[in-house]
Symmetry: C2
DNA sequence: GTGAAAGCGCTAACAG
DNA sequence: CTGTTAGCGCTTTCAC
């Protein structure tokens, strides 16, 4: 037989209520009673039933976390940040993977809603079905989007200045005189791609140059694609002197292709990624990239969520973290830039 | 006001019980009743309360997953496999990160137990406090360890033949004539390190050679260490012609160090890792490594757990998946070995 | 300081 | 095929 409050109450002669109070460190309990009950609870190996508690108190101290892609280390680092803050604030995480499928994402939200989570941190899937807005508008608990935004819900997001980040990348290359820049951009229908493409445009504009579409490709974001697209560009004699990648995974694929084609980096081609993953300084050469505060992104998202849970009246407000171009060996030295060599 | 079974019951004139039956697709309900109730539930936007249901049915369809290290892509891939099977079998995942801290791991188990999870999949933290055995022996739900085992609980593990894997690595190198092999092994107190070291010993024995301890180091398993230890070995003029790494992260660090020291791979030094992470084929050169079925490891662990949940009487049995040395550019061609080039 | 009573929303057991 | 009753284990409210 499992020990419950009732068991302890019977064993000590106090009421269930008193036992409950002691175990929740409620006030107005005599020190003696408290110690008797605590001891007995310990002795009987009492494990509180959080399910029963939640049913009554309407608080689960559980949040739903939905990742767009478990296999992407970017999201892993974000989740690490969410986990840290969740742990600090006393929340457990129910986690799901949408696989970049909007419908699956909404399905997971409904499932977690059934489980009465106190709120959500989601890395929303990209797509075009346009139902995210209405859907999220209708859910009865607070929610924060980490690293992306969806139209009409931007105030629910923690972001990292995609536009400025990519602008600084192109600005660097254009100032160095590059004119044929292979741009392996991200998936369409996602805020990051949209904003980074805008940053790219802006950089070209300020140099009074028109970007050439034949150098621009939209990929979904993995290493294989970076490898194949770069191979393809080389095979088709598309001349380029730099490659800008939507993320470091694509860049890793590009680097591989360039090495196999005997193009030296950064001598023949400069390569720049985005995200600054843990592996990026260890690529050969070390990858120049935009450093996105992934862990902090998750941490802040959870922090803000916690505030909204505690105070449901609080207004939502877009949060922008800063990101910054970080130079390593895949680009040529440039003394005008701040240089941070890693490792 | 939130809609509950009661709301629907009142709105349709049926009893709460009947409504409950319809919504659970219970038998013995007339088609007409069923459709009336379903329609009403839909209309009112009914969201079932899984908390209340669990309290009564003693089943949460939630499992606890504990990762030893969120930031390690090995575990991410395992979790991907757990997630896939959990999703298929209708479970949600409560997830936690022990950070390789045994006490934190047990704390998480207790927390999840409070939340009445139906079972656990854990990647146990390593350590020496020897309390894991007693602790796990006492928990009231099924549990499976993925990728590692703890003494006395081996039958609860899904493994991947660490001993054979490492033996094949050393056997390959010894057969090629290497005699000074730098071995960057894993953390002590973890089954994988223990078993792989045993495999190493076995390979040396079968070649009638005594391994030299000055070539053997135990690291905790990240890229920085691989980089530093390799640098250090070079600085200290420790002569070696091959590096064997406990995992691909260490190998990536070693590769970086070798490149910076102008040692060519595989010409001057052959390098072999362990795990076969997604990034490994994209290293420069592509990394020869032992391919561990990470996704399958997670999938199987969840599958077996599900069986134990459904049938608590079922006996536990160690499960061994196969792993296999996979050749890429970081080793010299060897026609006697099966070669699989990636990408 | 402590206890009694009610009920969170649901499912199980039994009736008919 | 449907309804009634009880109760999962806890917290809340009110009483004294």
């Amino acid at each position: 037989m499992r020990t419950t409050l009732k068991t302890i109450a019977k064993a000590t002669g106090f009421s269930i209520n008193t036992v409950s109070r002691v175990l929740r460190n409620d006030t107005r309990i005599s020190a003696e009673t408290s110690s008797i009950i605590s001891r007995k609870a310990e002795e009987l190996g009492y494990i509180p039933n959080a399910i029963a508690s939640s049913l009554r108190s309407l608080r689960t101290y559980t949040i739903g976390v939905i990742s767009a892609d478990f296999s992407n280390p970017f999201f892993s680092e974000v989740i690490g940040g969410i986990e840290e803050k969740a742990h600090e604030a006393g929340y457990q995480m129910l986690i799901g993977n949408s696989g970049e499928d909007e419908e699956k994402e909404r399905h997971l939200v409904r499932l977690f809603l059934s489980r009465k989570v106190d709120g959500f941190v989601v890395m929303p899937a990209y797509g075009k079905d346009n139902r995210h807005f209405d859907f999220y508008s209708s859910i009865p608990v607070p929610y924060i989007f980490a690293g992306r935004y969806i139209n009409g819900q931007k105030s629910h997001s923690i972001l990292h200045n995609d536009e400025d980040g990519e602008e600084s990348v192109f600005d660097y290359l254009l100032r160095r005189g590059h004119r044929n820049i292979l741009y392996l951009s991200g998936p369409e229908g996602i805020s990051n791609t949209h904003d980074r493409d805008k940053g790219m445009q802006k950089a070209y504009s300020s140099h009074s140059i028109q970007p050439d579409n034949k150098y621009i490709f939209h990929l979904s974001g993995n290493m294989e694609e970076g490898y194949q697209k770069t191979n393809q560009a080389i095979t088709q004699n598309l001349e380029f002197t730099a490659v800008v990648c939507f993320n470091d995974l694509i860049a890793m694929g590009a680097l591989k292709s360039l090495a196999e084609n005997n193009l030296s980096v950064p001598g023949d081609v400069e390569v720049i990624g985005y995200d600054n993953l843990k592996i990026s300084p260890f690529m050969e050469p070390g990858l120049t990239t935009v450093d996105v505060p992934k862990h902090k992104l998750g941490y802040e998202a959870m922090d803000v969520l916690d505030q909204h849970i505690s105070n449901p009246e609080m207004a939502y407000e877009t949060n922008n973290l800063t990101s910054k171009l970080l130079f390593r060996g895949s680009t040529v030295d440039d003394d005008q830039q701040e240089r941070i060599r890693q490792p």
